[in-house]
Subunit: 222 residues, 2 copies
DNA sequence: CAATGACTTAATGGTTTTATGAAAATTCAC
DNA sequence: GTGAATTTTCATAAAACCATTAAGTCATTG
């Protein structure tokens, strides 16, 4: 579950401190001092983000960066002590990347790492920022506010959320909601839909994500 | 409600500007120019965070820092103009602390102050000051007061605490609690939950950390 | 625009699930 | 083995949920 951050930095004490900060924040960190090992490590191990010191003994940081980019898209935060490096970096295609100027504070780096990883992963679920669903906690957030749903409501919404835009008949929804093969009236679904809509719009009346398709069923869309 | 930030800085104009930024952001700031007064002030006045210039006339900043640490844990942001100071600082036990390199931008300092105070108030105080669990001593503190739990209760709470927010069925909880594969009624879990809640709320009736998810199970949340 | 079928909604009764207190069974220490 | 503590079960009350109904509203069609 935790995300892996690889620190490439020759000043070991600095890297150590940074690593501790990252661990404190729930990341798993690994430190590499020798630049020549970076590419190999990234190929062999899980790495979600890389903090790359550009001034390394042995191998040039930018070369490492370019080599990484030939086979992976993981975000890279580049660190440099020389101000004038920054200008060159800014010219780069800084996709999911970032850079920091040394000396940096560990706290600042952690903040950046969090931001980048949140952006890139945290997550497709937050895609719309309007509705997020967490299966394991059974938590539903509408515009950031928690909405408490019953089991049937949660299953319904969850199924809708996983199949955006798709239209479902009431029969289909029933079989999705109930594990047993119980048979209920069509109106039952209507009823749950009604309650769902009410609870969601209770948070924000603007949100109208469950649409009725006349004569067919319902669909979810934001 | 507002939090107090103490600025220790001999360049008065700089301190002034920073103070205004902080005020703007909702903090209450106070400036001390003479290093020899800092310890006394902190002892006598409310201070939630301290910005400490290390290059002070009269008294050395690091000495002040060490003296403060003998009686308080308030976070300290250390400011210094000399790069090489940074290295020494990194060696320090940077608990809730941070450092910045002069010349700094007031805006940046405000951001850091906010971050530090958010962390030390929200996170620490909310999450762990309410409930802390020590696996090795089997000690449980609720709002600082010890609660004596039976083994089953402790295992339950401990498992919950390690998996905050996650919903567990009674079956899952049973297998978590029992090493052997004994089979017990669902109601057994209810019973333990009941006792747990009672013991916890015996300390503070406000604390309601075990929630029932109807038709599913229980989850822990603060 | 009237008729018809489809959707919405609130209320209700019944069902399932949970809370709780107390009793029975088990475990543990002595 | 005895007694106290703990665990489990049980019975009942309370709460939450769900399916249905029925009445009202809306969309479609001729």
């Amino acid at each position: 579950m935790s995300q892996h951050v690889l620190i490439v930095e020759d000043e070991e004490s600095l890297a150590q401190v940074l690593g501790e900060y990252l661990t404190q924040s729930g990341f798993i960190s690994h430190i590499i001092i020798d630049g020549s090992q970076v590419v190999e490590w990234v190929k062999q191990n899980p790495v979600d983000l890389l903090i790359l010191d550009l001034m390394l003994p042995g191998k040039n940081g930018l070369d490492i960066y370019r080599e990484l980019r030939t086979f992976t898209d993981i975000p890279v935060v580049m660190a440099t002590a020389r101000i004038d490096e920054i200008d060159r970096l800014i010219g780069l295609e800084l996709g999911a990347d970032d850079y920091i100027c040394k000396p940096y504070s560990p706290r600042e780096v952690v903040v950046r790492v969090k931001n980048i990883l949140r952006r890139s992963t945290d997550e497709m679920k937050m895609v719309d920022k309007i509705l997020s669903i967490n299966e394991s906690t059974m938590q539903v957030l509408v515009k950031g506010k928690e909405v408490s749903l019953t089991r049937a409501e949660f299953r319904l919404l969850s199924h809708f959320h996983q199949h955006k835009e798709q239209v479902f008949s009431r029969e289909q929804l029933m079989t999705q909601i109930y594990s047993d093969n119980r048979v209920v009236t069509d109106r039952t679904i209507d009823s749950h839909i009604k309650n769902l809509r009410r609870k969601i719009q209770n948070v924000d009346a603007e949100v109208d994500c469950i649409q009725s398709i006349y004569g067919v069923g319902y669909k979810f869309a934001l």
